[in-house]
């Protein structure tokens, strides 16, 4: 008999081709065939055969035991967002599977490739209300790009191949494969073939030269062209192409929340970030440009504000791989239905070199106003309690904008997006579309494992950390060197801000009595420090970054601070408030 280490060597995987193995083994082998070496999961009855098979592959294949299945998907998401490869997670049937749903919905709305594999009860028990039986295929249908239930072992290789192909191609998204226990234990002759096409699925639209030419002529005529880009640029790996495009005609460019890190923040054409708490210029100039060039973004309501007062004066060009996004929220004059990389390359060829110095200067004027009214006192306050912005500013300068930043949801998220200088590729990991509190801690785990040698800092609120604080256990068990910064305002700050501004300061259930976070970290043997004084901040952050291993820092920040600018819900981007 071969030993476990022997059979698990990648080069020896081929030896299983054409041999009879169990469904559970086939699941692992199929994953290895797809280049997977990291999975996040949690065992239970219906997935036990898979865990048993995992036992033999421990050195090829690293399984991270999370502390809650939601943590497994978020970790898989963090992994995918940093590496560009699908993240993989495993869960048992019933509660294990339902615990995945929030993360799956998050991955769906933020176009993140994730492959979820759930165990299911024995096929003959389906529909009988058997122990831990849930219709997870039904439940996950609205929030997956594709899902499928396997009841026959022989389907495993083909379905897994298809799942990976679907998850990562076109507009990426989560897929779920539910596998009954009998399919995991029964044997069949294993053969693996990668999926190269599905006839009912056309992930790569063929670019139409007519659309490119029409867009180019609009851009060439434009006096005040304006690029707004989103995560599509990162997914298409089109950062360079975007830069060349913007530079050729000297077009100012602004990012959506998920687009951050796709464009160098210190570049003269970069004007900032869009949306409800975005920068002043980027928001108001949307209603002053003459040609709006949207690239790989979906005109989310947090970006557009009131649609009836959004970019009405402008001709709109939309570069988008998902046809359903075109004309969904904003009516376009020219759309380029294509992969962003390809579209930008083609477009750059057809536009004329140009200058828009005065137009760009208008953004710079806005920047000055914003700096005087908001940024300066946020980043460099001289008295009072520590502000979130100065923590982020310090971190940005200590890391020179090169860390991977994972944020949770709330004020700290908006502040981080405003003040961190995202200089390195794929370095902004946040829950955008769903706004899932509890995302950051597990996503940071995945992000750290997604690529070697990248510094990962999770910036989390005192509320959000407590939604997935158990994942400190995962960090402890595997000694995952993530840095965790809790910006503690003892409030569900973002909700409190709305209560202050729109609900007459009636702080209903938003104040928090918090535990001693440092003691909790200590319980997991994670080094930690609480900072309350401004003088201590810089040194403590530096010490955290120098520490070899995981670290948790709690910073006590101003309790009732508000994030500005702000576009109140339902308002026009022009009516952004500066305070």
């Amino acid at each position: 008999m071969e030993t476990a280490t022997e059979i698990s060597k990648p080069e020896k995987i081929n030896q299983f081709e054409g041999t009879e193995i169990s469904g559970a083994q086939a699941i692992i082998l199929s994953l290895i065939n797809e280049g997977v070496d990291t999975v996040f999961g949690y065992p239970g009855g219906a997935i036990m055969p898979v865990y048993d098979a995992l036992y033999d592959f421990q050195d090829t294949f690293k399984h991270y035991l999370v502390r809650h299945e939601q943590g497994a998907v978020h970790a898989a998401q963090g992994y995918a967002r940093v590496s560009g490869k699908p993240g993989v997670c495993l869960a048992t049937s019933g509660p294990g599977a339902t615990n995945l749903i929030t993360g799956i919905a998050d991955a769906q709305i933020d176009s993140t490739p994730v492959v979820c594999i759930t165990g299911q009860v024995f096929a003959p028990l389906l529909g009988t209300d058997a122990f831990q039986e849930t219709d997870v295929v039904g439940i996950s249908m609205p929030v997956t790009k594709w899902n499928y239930q396997i009841t026959d072992a022989s389907e495993i290789p083909e379905v897994i191949a298809k799942a990976f192909y679907i998850a990562k191609s076109g507009r990426p998204g989560p897929v779920l494969i539910d596998i009954t226990k009998d399919a995991q234990v029964s044997k069949f002759i294993y053969e693996y073939k990668k999926c190269i096409n599905i006839r009912s699925y056309q992930p790569k639209p063929v670019i139409k030269p007519k659309e490119v030419l029409a867009a180019a002529s609009l851009i060439n005529e434009a006096k005040k062209p304006y690029i707004v880009f989103g995560q599509g640029v990162i997914i298409a790996d089109a950062q360079k192409e975007l830069l060349s495009f913007a530079e050729k005609a000297q077009i100012p460019a602004a990012s959506t929340l998920l687009g951050l890190s796709a464009f160098p923040p210190d570049h003269p054409l970069y004007v900032g970030y869009l949306g409800m708490h975005g920068n002043y210029g980027p928001n108001i100039k949307t209603n002053e440009c003459d040609v709006l060039i949207a690239v790989g973004m979906r005109f989310d309501d947090r970006v557009t504000g009131d649609l009836t007062r959004y970019a009405k004066q402008a001709k709109v060009i939309h570069i988008e791989i998902d046809e359903a996004e075109i004309d969904k929220n904003v009516k376009t004059d020219v759309s380029i239905h294509a992969d962003a990389k390809e579209a930008l390359q083609a477009l750059t060829e057809h536009i004329k070199p140009n200058m828009h110095a005065e137009w760009l200067q208008e953004f710079r004027e806005c920047e000055k106003i914003e700096y005087e009214k908001i940024t300066k006192k946020e980043k460099f306050p001289e008295s009072g309690q520590i502000k979130m912005a100065e923590v982020v500013e310090q971190l940005s300068s200590i890391t020179d904008g090169n860390a991977v930043i994972v944020t949770d949801v709330g004020q700290h998220q908006m502040v981080t997006s405003r003040y961190y200088q995202f200089k390195s590729r794929r370095s902004n990991i946040t829950s955008g579309g769903l706004g899932t509190m509890g995302f950051a801690l597990p996503a940071a785990i995945g992000a750290r494992l997604g690529e070697d040698d990248r510094e990962v800092i999770a910036i989390i609120g005192d509320g959000g950390i407590q939604m997935s604080i158990q994942e400190l256990g995962t960090i402890f068990q595997y000694n995952i060197p993530v840095k965790i910064v809790i910006l503690n305002n003892n409030f569900l700050g973002m909700v409190r801000q709305w209560q202050q501004l729109f609900f007459a300061k009636r702080y209903s259930s938003t104040e928090m009595t918090n535990p001693d976070f440092i003691k909790i970290a200590e319980g997991y043997s994670i080094k930690g420090k609480k900072v309350t004084e401004r003088e201590d901040l810089r040194g403590s952050l530096e010490a955290m970054m120098e520490h070899n291993g995981p670290y948790l820092m709690e910073v006590e920040v101003e309790k009732e601070e508000n994030v500005f600018p702000m576009i109140p819900t339902g308002e026009s981007v022009s009516n952004i408030l500066l305070g």
């Binding site: 295929v137 039904g138 249908m141 609205p142 790009k145 594709w146 679907i166 190269i196 096409n197 599905i198 006839r199 009912s200 699925y201 056309q202 992930p203 790569k204 639209p205 063929v206 009836t308 998902d322 046809e323 359903a324 004309d327 969904k328």
Partner: protein, 182 residues
């Protein structure tokens, strides 16, 4: 902005014959609170390919958006949106009446003949009349038959065939070719 009016649209959707698809398609309507007026699923002339025919009342804009969402479903081969005059369509209806009503006068027989319906079966107790046509014709016959004690009435969803020259097989070939673009 002027509000667009609701109109009747026929959606014709070609899919792989896979389980779960009906659910995947209908949740797209549910999520947007669009009521499905009629739905029909059938096989096509191509083995393994099904056709869903769905009738909705909606604005054109909403209908277009729904069709684009349906196209995103992996197993959907194609989804087409038609207005009334772009398709040939039919529905089929069955009416059950007591046989004694037919024997007591020839009014029913006249109605059947003048409306292009036919008698499907005559039993001792009841008779079944069948009519194919457009919804309003079928419902108008129902109204006319009501005085004769209609015991049961049922109407199918719409089936529709487009007036375009597109053939399913060549459409599938086109899709297959596009799916190989990399």
């Amino acid at each position: 902005m002027q509000k667009e009016e609701n109109k009747e649209f026929t959606l014709s959707i070609l899919t792989e014959n896979k389980s779960g698809l009906l659910n995947r398609i209908t949740i797209i309507f549910t999520r947007r609170k669009i009521n499905i007026e009629a739905i029909n699923v059938s096989e096509t002339e191509v083995h393994g390919v099904s056709r869903f025919t769905i009738v909705v009342r909606s604005t054109h804009e909403k209908a277009v958006k729904v069709v684009k969402q349906i196209r995103k479903i992996i197993e959907v081969l194609g989804a087409f949106l038609y207005e009334e005059d772009e398709v040939h369509y039919q529905e089929i209806a069955l009416y059950k009446l007591p046989t004694k009503m037919l024997t007591s006068s020839n009014q029913i027989e006249n109605l059947v003949r003048s409306s292009g319906a036919r008698v499907l079966t005559v039993g001792e107790e009841y008779t079944i009349i069948e009519k194919t046509g457009h919804s309003h014709e079928i419902l108008s016959l129902l109204e006319q038959l009501k005085p004769f004690d209609v015991q049961e009435f049922i109407k199918s969803g719409r089936i529709a065939i487009s007036k375009s020259k597109r053939q399913t097989v060549s459409f599938l070939e086109e899709m297959e070719a596009l799916s190989l673009v990399s």
